[in-house]
């Protein structure tokens, strides 16, 4: 049995007029680094939202580990224990420190304040930002903010990291650094990393590239 099994996944909007996903079948193994590519509106972000338990399918099934994502009552638990998210615009909370931002996913994990602080400093160290632990994200550069967001995505020791255009707002140098960091962490922690991108240079870092068009998978290739 594969780590992630997606069968006949369908999702449409505006009373079925827009078919975001049109019968997607996919299996993903633990520790894979996958890039999902495609034009805008091809369904790649919709799939990512479904895999992260942020949205539910109209039809079909998603099973990740022991979680059946049709069971909406378990979605909060799934997100808090199993998944880490990285967004294009980092989405850090201003007015609180970087360390406090990293601690946000830990609130649902019943950790003490001391444990939370210890873990957040370890993760900031991992992304080489321990010295910015008490800084407000507002004073950081774009690349640094995205590194804090990566640290936050690791806070709950996730089995999967879902990243939606994680380098979309970065320059080429920062893009390269962030991808390198993600790749290192993915290997080190044996995390399944799924990146949605429209940038082929970014996708080339992945071990497997899945291409979407009009809600369907049109290519699924290993990238050696």
């Amino acid at each position: 049995m594969s780590f992630m099994e997606i069968k006949n996944l369908k999702k449409s909007y505006e009373n079925g007029l827009i078919k975001a996903l049109d019968g997607v079948d996919l299996t993903i193994e633990k520790g894979e680094f996958i890039a999902i590519i495609g034009a805008s509106g091809s369904g790649k972000s919709t799939l990512l939202n479904m895999l992260g338990g942020l949205d539910v399918a109209d039809e079909g099934t998603i099973r990740i580990g022991d979680y059946d994502l049709r069971n909406t009552k378990k979605l909060n638990e799934f997100r808090s224990k199993f998944v880490g998210f990285i967004f294009q615009l980092h989405n850090l909370i201003s007015n609180i420190s970087c360390a406090e931002n990293v601690e946000i996913p830990m609130y649902e994990l019943k950790m003490s304040n001391k444990e939370m602080r210890k873990r957040s400093l370890e993760l900031l160290d991992l992304v080489n930002l321990k010295n910015k632990a008490s800084s407000d994200p507002k004073v950081l550069s774009g690349g640094e903010r995205q590194r804090v967001a990566i640290a936050r995505s690791l806070a709950n020791s996730p089995a999967i990291i879902l990243a939606d255009e994680p380098t979309g707002s970065l320059d080429s140098k920062n893009t390269e650094n962030i991808l390198k960091l993600l790749q290192e962490l993915q290997i080190k922690e044996n995390i399944t990393l799924i990146i949605v991108t429209h940038d082929l240079d970014v996708a080339k870092h992945a071990n497997r590239i899945i291409e979407f068009l009009d809600g369907k998978i049109i290519n699924d290739n290993k990238n050696n």
Binding site: L54, N76, F85, N91, N95, Y107, E108, A155
Partner: protein
């Protein structure tokens, strides 16, 4: 917790406006409460300093009773009650008083005619000019207010219906029954005037040293129930008591109105806050925060605003009541009532919870994908 403490102040100007709104409400509640309590306490102190610990009247009259015109809000007491009350544990001495009204052609309002033994005069106020009257003569003392209006002084005669009284003194009313327009003569003279030698309108009670008026009041109430009406404070007594009660109700109404306006401010602030932080709430949901935690966070933020406002409002209220008492009632000292502050803080908490609930509920119901797409 850190989010709860920091989020409300992200938009400082809006937060300050909300705090000012609630703070004014709390300040008004505290100031009005303190001033009312201080005034009551000041009057009570004067009364008790003059030696009156309690005032006992007959049973209260139903407001629809037509006889209220004759004997006011309380029925007369039979004079046998004097001994009954005197024998109550803790009571040191008692004095009977008969109070009625008479009309004078020069005055538009009825004037109080008070009958009491001259040994009890100390309870009524200070004689500032002249002496006390003789219980067996047609003599009396006139209140300074009435003397001024009637242009009377010591040695003049004063006519009440067909009887002529000699004015032997002028006094300054200062007690639980104190009314500015009054004439006091002996108890017998007034009982003759009303042709009722069997009754009294009220009984002044002085307690033994160290005995609390609340204790004796409770004993009397347990023993005689509604047959008597016991006042230990100006707030319990007659027209003044009703005025104080009205003042308290008015101050509560003003405070609630101010708090309601503040509450709308909180609702608006929190709605704005949730609206502007839609994306942030989306992130919190994406990382697995339960709806309960999001509701707690928004309600907590609302409570932080109201608690800051209640601290500022309480300080403001205390300062305001000090200023009012200093410049308008310099003989009344400020009474700090923890109940008034507690009442204000409890109202603030309720306003915070009510004002924060809808935005909190709205935040918790935001679909995470839509919230994350929010620009």
């Amino acid at each position: 917790m850190k989010l709860i403490l920091k989020n409300p102040f992200k938009k400082k100007f809006i937060a300050v406006l909300a705090i000012i709104g609630i703070g004014i409400g709390i300040g008004a509640m505290v100031a009005l409460g303190f001033v009312t309590d201080s005034v009551i306490n000041g009057i009570d102190n004067k009364i008790h300093n003059s030696g009156i610990d309690m005032l006992i009247k007959g049973e209260k009259v139903n407001l629809t009773d037509p006889n209220i015109v004759f004997y006011g809000p309380n029925k007369p007491l039979n004079k046998s009650w004097l001994d009954t009350i005197k024998n109550t544990e803790g009571v040191d001495s008692v004095a009977g008083v008969y109070e009625t009204k008479f009309l004078n052609k020069n005055m538009l309002v009825p004037i109080n005619l008070i009958g009491m033994e001259n040994t009890s005069l100390k309870y009524q106020g200070n004689i500032t000019n002249g002496t006390a009257f003789n219980d067996d003569s047609k003599e009396g003392i006139i209140s300074s207010g009435l003397a001024k209006i009637e242009n009377k002084t010591v040695g003049d005669d004063y006519k009440i219906d067909d009887d002529d009284y000699k004015i032997v003194g002028i006094y300054e009313p200062d007690n639980l029954m104190g009314v500015s327009l009054s004439f006091i003569t002996s108890l017998k003279n007034v009982q003759d005037y009303v042709q009722d030698s069997e009754n009294l309108s009220n009984v002044i009670v002085k307690l033994k040293t160290g005995v609390k008026s609340e204790y004796v009041s409770k004993e009397l109430k347990n023993e005689y129930g509604d047959n008597i009406d016991v006042s230990t404070s100006i707030a319990d007594n007659g027209v003044m008591g009703e005025m104080i009660s009205m003042l308290k109700q008015l101050s509560l109404a003003i405070s609630l109105l101010a708090l309601l306006i503040g509450g709308i401010g909180i609702l608006n602030t929190m709605m704005m806050s949730v609206y502007e932080r839609t994306r942030e709430i989306g992130v919190l949901k994406a990382v697995g925060w339960k709806n309960k935690r999001i509701i707690t966070m928004v309600l907590g933020e609302s409570l932080v605003l109201t608690m800051v406002a209640s601290i500022i409002g309480t300080i403001l209220g205390i300062l305001l009541s000090m200023i009012v008492l200093k410049f308008l009632m310099d003989d009344v000292s400020l009474v700090f009532s923890i109940n008034t502050i507690l009442q204000a803080v409890i109202f603030a908490i309720i306003i915070g919870l009510v004002g924060g609930f809808y935005p909190a509920h709205k935040a918790s119901k935001l679909p995470p994908t839509e919230a994350l797409r929010y620009e």
